[in-house]
Amino acid sequence: MLKESAGGWGLGARASNRQTRLIEVVVVVAIALLLIFVMPTVLSSFRLNLLGRFLALAIVGLGIDLIWGYTGLLSLGHGIFFGLGGYAIGMHLKLQIPPGELPDFMGLYGVTELPWFWKPFYLFPVASAAVVIIPAILAGLFGYLVFRNRIRGVYFSILTQAGVIIFFNFFNGQQKLFNGTNGLIDFSTILGANVSAQSTQVVFYILTVLLLIGTYALCRWLTSGRFGRLLMAIRDDESRVRFSGYDPTEFKVFVFAVSGAIAGIAGAMYTLQSGSVSPRAMDVAFSIEMVIWVAIGGRASLVGAVVGTLLVNYARSFFSEEYAEIWLFFQGALFLLVVTVLPDGIVGWLRNTGIQQLGRKQVITYPSLEEDPEVENERQNLGN
């Protein structure tokens, strides 16, 4: 029965679907080629590094869009997973020393023996696997404990926010284990190559672009088809999904874990390109800012998440260079504007105002509130 309803597209629709899919692939590949081959020759090394970092942040934007735009889970704590990814690769970089020696900061705090959990990070494969697996497991566990009890909405959001403060405190307070406030800095080599060398940085940049494309493809695959429709159904009316015989908990846990893993990858790439990872990656403000990137670009639109991330971050780097004071005002105004005037973000606004080529279907986030004309009418006229 389900197959019938899911596969109820006409033959023509399927063909045109395939055509748009093909166009999308061509466009994405073209952008990727542009980023990989043209940008390194055009931009100065500083600008290229900046772009690479912002592209890494765009990866986490995709992760947020996956859970917020499509599944309706507003996480204010993705900094946890971002930071964990960064720390995982950072620990590997700090261990580029002869066996038996300790990372430099540990000597300062009188540590004599390498803590046990640092040891696996000697191996590059283990460290790079940890970048994905540790955030995914943590997100899955946290999600399971929370979603299992049907805690959702605002409750979930403030629990994630509390979580990010807790992790900030933990990494900030453990000087002996993670060098406290300063975090992990002064990386030397990775796989024998000098981390800060120009050629290595270009490799990191290209890797970031590839990972961004890969993440985009993954999110695209997850959000189209039956799984994606189920996610949107959970977002729009979770109780109804439950009554239809699905268990939303499993899906939410899974998608939250995937999103955490994506944030971990982003954190690792960001750390490699910025040359340090500190508890500031788990700052509350930073985690909420990630949400605004997606909101500006457009929820429930993967392109929007990437575009929004790049826009806001370039605006930030412009403003903090020119007028640092105004940036917070501007950012605050951005939060207010995007929820009141532009609830669908830039891409959503473009879609709704007639540029139909860009998007296919309009996504309504809260159908029960927005679609019922009677409710709207009453709200406006009766003032309740």
């Binding site: 309706g72 507003l74 204010l76 946290f142 404990l145 929370v146 299992r148 009890n149 049907r150 805690i151 909405g153 605002v154 409750y155 959001s157 403030i158 629990l159 926010q161 509390a162 979580g163 403060i165 807790i166 405190n169 933990f170 900030n172 307070g173 109780s239 509350v284 403000a285 909420i288 949400v291 605004i292 909101a295 004071e325 917070l328 005002f329 950012q331 605050g332 105004a333 951005l334 939060f335 207010l336 995007v338 929820v339 009141t340 609830p343 809260y366 509130l369 009766l382 003032g383 309740n384």
Partner: protein, 386 residues
């Protein structure tokens, strides 16, 4: 041993009292509207800054007056925070009902603006904002009388916004160039400020071999007073009855003729005012700065989560429990208690700092929510899940 426990109890209660007074307003607003106000901490910060201003004003009046500035400061803090809260509700939150997640983001934006505002507020900024408000909102108000306003409203806004913004910025620039530092110097700046408590609040009450600072006693008394006042207001007055009715069932209350919009605005102002009072209270515990509010918000949110929605008693229990547990773990009392059992003692010693205690408390809260997802006193009924 007994002294240690007593000590823990008193400290726990005094930390819990701060949490409670900070969380009280948040809990009422959350219970009524399902809205978490991320700017709550900043409203507390405004209350603390108001206390600072009032204190400076009373210093000029001389010694006998200065002793009693607190009472005036409490009232002023309430009024200022409630006023800002009212503007916030009327201007932003009202448009976002039914979309709690968006409200979170919007109030976060407000909190960023408020933080930067106290950092950089000076005469130029104040004059500029007043001119803008006067021109823009005054113009809208005048045009509001025209019957065809709805048709041309967008055009009016599109024209008037840049004009009033331009005039405001030009005037501010002119002012700052003519009067220089006299008007461009920030009032408070980014550094922390110290509020000096009056003489009768310094020192402490000796209990056994341990001193209870009068400031703490004052906060406990203030908290009890606030809780009692809120209880009486909610249970014994007509508006309290309306607030309780809307909390239980919004649409049914609206059907029965309760002006839910007014109830929302009133409750939000009340909750914000309580935040202001809390800010006044915390200004006696340490210096206040633009980031003061940030230190308290997450703890107060946890109080709301643990306490459950719509019951004062839940908030009280949760605040006291979190305060006590936090102190017991953070001060290392538990580590001492379990000293005979080596691994347990080591375990608790690891968490025996203020920041690590929060890690432990968060884990405990998550564990607690496995047993009681709705908090200590969950609201019964089917409407909660809507």
């Amino acid at each position: 041993m007994l002294a240690g426990l007593l000590d823990g109890l008193f400290n726990g209660i005094s930390i819990g009292a701060v949490l409670l007074i900070a969380a009280l307003g948040l809990a009422i607003v959350f219970g009524l509207m399902g809205v978490i106000n991320l700017a709550h901490g900043e409203l507390m910060m405004l209350g603390a800054y108001t206390t600072f201003v009032v204190q400076n004003g009373f210093k000029k009046l001389g010694e006998p007056w200065f002793e009693f500035y607190i009472f005036f400061a409490l009232i002023m803090a309430f009024i200022v925070a409630a006023g800002v809260g009212l503007i916030l509700e009327r201007g932003v939150i009202r448009h976002l009902y039914g979309r709690p997640l968006e409200t979170l983001l919007a109030t976060w934006g407000v909190s960023l603006i408020l933080q930067q505002f106290v950092r950089s507020v000076n005469w130029v900024l104040v004059v500029g904002i007043s001119i803008f408000c006067l021109l823009f909102f005054g113009g809208l108000w005048i045009l509001h009388r025209r019957s065809d306003i709805n048709r041309i409203r967008n055009w009016v806004v599109a024209v008037m916004l840049p004009i009033s913004l331009g005039i405001a910025i030009a005037t501010s620039n002119f002012l700052s160039q003519t009067y220089k530092l006299a008007v461009t110097q920030p009032w408070f700046g980014a550094q922390n400020l110290d509020v000096s408590a009056p003489k009768w609040l310094r020192g402490g009450l000796p209990i056994g071999n341990f001193q209870m600072p009068y400031a703490r006693v004052f906060i406990i008394a203030l908290t009890i007073l606030c809780v009692a006042a809120i209880y009486v207001f909610l249970q014994r007055t007509p508006w309290g009855l309306r607030i309780r009715a809307v909390t239980q069932n919004r649409s049914m209350s609206a059907c029965l003729g309760i002006p839910t919009q007014k109830v929302d605005a009133l409750t939000f102002a009340l909750g914000s005012g309580l935040a202001g009072v809390a800010g006044c209270a915390i200004s006696f515990l340490g210096s206040v700065g633009p980031n003061t509010g940030q230190n308290y918000i997450v703890d107060t949110f946890m109080v709301v989560v643990v306490g459950g929605v719509g019951k004062l008693v839940g908030t009280i229990f949760a605040a006291l429990a979190i305060g006590t547990v936090n102190y017991l773990i953070g001060s290392g009392t538990l580590a001492l208690l379990f000293a005979p059992i080596k691994p347990l003692a080591d375990f608790f010693t690891f968490f025996a700092t203020t920041s690590m205690a929060k890690v432990m408390v968060f884990a405990l809260i998550i564990a607690f929510l496995q047993v009681r997802p709705g908090g200590i006193f969950p609201q019964k009924g089917r409407t909660v899940d809507a």
